[in-house]
Symmetry: C2
Subunit: 124 residues, 2 copies
């Protein structure tokens, strides 16, 4: 699905992104920065991966993730401040052209998380 323009606008501002996976029935929560996220031409999100070992393990059980991001500096429905909730599937990739693009920007990354949004909701 298409990435909303306002979400692209949020990603121009720095902020903490949350990514939730499941280890069986136990949720696992990790973070990245807004500025680390790259939007692909096919409307996926790429995130450089340093650690995220547990996230990688969890994705081998279920690819389903939840993700939030936002910025206080972008207008929301009512006032300054907006955020998005993204339901998606995600893969780990450690080779290929998308990995190479991210590796050039983030030399420390051991892999990338390729996120395929299924549903994007502006929450505020």
């Amino acid at each position: 699905m298409e990435i909303p323009l306002k979400m692209s606008e949020v990603l121009q501002h720095e902020g903490v992104v949350a990514i939730v996976t499941q280890n069986n029935t136990v949720p696992h929560l990790v973070n990245t920065w807004n500025s680390y996220i790259h939007i692909t031409p096919d409307n996926c999100l790429l995130v450089p991966v340093g650690g995220m070992k547990q996230t990688e393990n969890n994705l081998s059980q279920s690819q389903q993730i939840l993700m939030t991001l936002g910025s206080r500096e972008v207008d929301g429905f009512h006032s300054k401040g907006t955020g998005f909730l993204i339901k998606a599937t995600a893969d780990f990739l450690s080779k290929g052209s998308e990995y190479d693009i991210m590796k050039a920007k983030f030399p420390w990354c051991r892999a990338i998380l390729k996120i395929h949004p299924q549903n994007i909701t502006q929450t505020l």
Copy 2:
């Protein structure tokens, strides 16, 4: 447990906070802002609640939550930017002195989330 000084420092900067609860085995992710969090003298965190109906339902099944917050503007282990992962239990409160304190600051709040940290990890 005591709230780390660096975490208090993070809360001086604006940012997106993530809070994860569980609906049976399905994780649920909501957000608040760093600036909305109030630290109590007994080292709990108070969050004003507008919506969060599903979070409230989930807490009636299990009080266990995960929470992350951070700021790019506070020094982490290696460079600028730090974040915290908090394992906690949480209650909804819609009366009492702590609710009154928060209601005075956030007139729109229908309740507060009182968060009792069990484990706080600086992740970056």
